[in-house]
Symmetry: C2
Subunit: 419 residues, 2 copies
């Protein structure tokens, strides 16, 4: 069987499985999830053996230590994977929820009911724990899933997927609900992305290059997350201690993630007092600062921010700083250079807080809180399958609900349409 036939068969059997999955009750899905968590824990040693193969290959290929760390299935990672699955089992099931119901003048009773999307393809890079995370969120929301992990994690991913499939079978659920694409060629992904009759959604998780390649080749809707150029605006009336604490948290805690701070905007009326203090605190944490001309006038030793800095997602201990004439200019800067991801204002002024929340249309907009809260778990969605920076279908952190859609149901008593 050639590559295309193999992928077509896999997609068709995922579609077939999705019909059965959409009808599963919560009890059965939760039982299967708990079996999966048990399976992961019971097979920890064989998982580590399979992972060892990937690690050896990675060392041989000379991959970076950061990549090898992400690839490693330690006991800690394996336990976290299992407890992650148990947490998904404990979440409410979105499928079947009646979102609204209303009666029409002709007495038709009309409702909107949540249903699964169908088949979801997840295309991701090295981290093998994504295999378990993504598969479990799809199962809980009644969707079949096609997984395509990075080739560096090939053996680990296969081993994890097999444990999950065994748990499905033990619970009497078709193992076709979880499919692992094992062909290594990139052409396999491109062919998969053409199968719009069988796959309802594609979620690429990884670097911008992967996401752009998927978006460009796909005939299937793609949930995209290009980058997070997050801003904090320190307003004239900000509490300096609060601002400092939040900015350090947003920039320093995990600079490599998408909800970390990249550009700091400071109201001109407080720049002279606040900037030196903030720069000192940031430099103490090892942050390199690139300033606008007005910031450099106050602190000449700052590096100069170039035009392209305002667009940059550093993912590193680097911060661009701009002094703004006020809220208006700050919002304008965010609109021009931002990525619609996450922005926060630090203020004590009621009107400015409300105006920032209203006028900034990024996916997460905060007042007096760290941009690091832009995350499904932190916002209370219970779990996160990804973050969308485009507005279609979902915008911002996506939980189980975003893996569903709504159908209309109509209770009638013989009504026909008049015209």
């Amino acid at each position: 069987m050639n590559m295309k036939d193999e992928i077509l068969n896999l997609a068709k059997s995922a579609k077939e499985a999705s019909y059965a999955l959409s009808r599963l009750g919560s009890v059965q899905k939760n039982k299967a999830l708990l079996r999966m968590a048990d399976g992961i824990l019971q097979n920890a040693s064989s998982l580590k053996r399979e992972n060892e193969k990937d690690l050896k290959a990675a060392q041989k290929k000379g991959l970076s230590q950061a990549l090898i760390d992400r690839l490693t299935l330690s006991d800690k990672v394996i336990n976290a994977m299992a407890s992650g699955i148990q947490e998904v089992a404990a979440l409410p099931d979105p499928v079947g929820e009646v979102v609204r119901m209303w009666r029409r003048p002709n007495d038709l009773l009309v409702g909107k009911v949540r249903i699964p999307l169908g088949v979801i393809a997840i295309i991701y890079e090295a981290r093998p724990n994504v295999t378990a995370d993504a598969a479990c969120l799809c199962l809980k929301s009644g969707n079949a899933v096609i997984l395509r992990g990075g080739s560096e994690a090939f053996s680990s991913n296969q081993a994890i997927a097999q444990i999950l499939k065994n748990a499905l079978e033990e619970e009497g659920i078709t193992p076709h609900a979880i499919q692992m694409l094992s062909t290594p060629e990139r052409e396999a992904i491109y062919f998969l992305l053409e199968l719009e009759d069988y796959i309802d959604l594609v979620i690429p998780r990884g670097g911008e290059e992967l996401i752009r390649a998927v978006a460009q080749h796909s005939r299937i809707p793609v949930i995209k997350h290009y980058k997070g150029v997050c801003h904090i605006f320190v307003d004239e009336s900000a509490d300096f201690a609060m601002a400092e604490k939040i900015i350090i948290n947003a920039k320093v805690q995990r600079p490599e993630v998408c909800n970390a701070l990249e550009t700091l905007l400071i109201h001109e009326a407080i720049a002279q007092d606040f900037l030196p203090r903030m720069v000192k605190a940031l430099e103490k944490e090892g942050v390199e600062i690139r300033g606008c001309p007005r910031a450099r006038k106050l602190i000449p030793r700052l590096k100069e921010a170039q035009e392209e800095d305002w667009y940059r997602e550093y993912l590193d201990l680097i911060l661009s700083v701009k002094i703004a004439s006020g809220l208006e200019e700050a919002i304008g800067h965010i609109t021009t250079y931002g990525s619609s991801h996450t922005e926060s204002i630090i203020t004590s002024n009621y009107q400015n807080a409300q105006r920032f929340l209203k006028e900034v249309n990024s996916s997460v907009v905060l007042v007096n809180a760290s941009t690091r809260f832009s995350d499904g778990n932190q916002l209370g969605l219970g779990a996160e399958i990804g973050i969308s920076t485009t507005k279609l279908h979902a915008f911002g952190p996506m939980g189980l609900e975003e893996l569903t859609t709504c159908k209309f149901i109509v209770y009638g008593e013989g009504q026909i349409r008049e015209s």
Copy 2:
């Protein structure tokens, strides 16, 4: 200026306008809409003069009478266009609605708030009244719109768009909020479909060929509506008189639209009694019937349904009829051959009604009601921008709410993330 530069400028200025539009209050948007309706009525005679140019060109090109009818701006069509705009003005504004709000354990107050999508491109065929409909729904939902109508309606569309833009200006709203793409080449559409940085959503309205071409070329998310192969299943316990009334309504009232009935499924236990009666009623209305082997055994003069008939959207007075062994087989047939558009069951059995509503995952699923209710106005959405037969973003009839998305807003008091 060449074609590409012209389109790029147009898309950029639509994006620019969308920021201002997203902040407009309901009062100002409604005032502009009422001005538009007045403008359409006051300029009826000049609209008809412009329309005359299109009609003459259409006659010269030998277009069909059906097409010329759709193209004609009669007094009736012009009045309907104006009252349609007034109705949109009277609808509730979805923008700014707080859909939900909840408090986190760390006291963050998190909410989801509706915001406009941004810039919507509508690509449609001959009917010039779509120009006013689409522009008004986009304005009401705070979106800028780029319109690309069929070349047959060129002069009519330009005249309508100009009236709408004038009304915007009179209300102090940027006329760039409504953009009309006037370049006649199909390449203009394809170029437009690449501008993902400026356009958030594309809605093609027209035949399957147009929609497939748009979907194939677009880098921007597309809301698709391929076809409506709608089913009615007459269960064993159905009230025959109700079934007959609903089936005639669904098949005969407007056979050319997407929510018309295409395939009738009949429970085998009642086929002998119900089929002859139903065939008689349908034939009286001029409907041609194509039957499965079992239906033809009961009524041998029926034409034979071929395998491809079960996939067909006739859009005509033709109906395929199949006798099914029961609910299970009926649902299986709908899953295999359906288009996920609209299906109805006629039954007096409680369990079967509930099971049909639960297990059939088409966008609109009805009990004891005509498929013709699958329509935004009829279901109570107030207006309809289109129908989606794919599940992403929206599924089924789309109203104003479906032209928005939600952002997260977060009220904090200095919270930072612990880990």
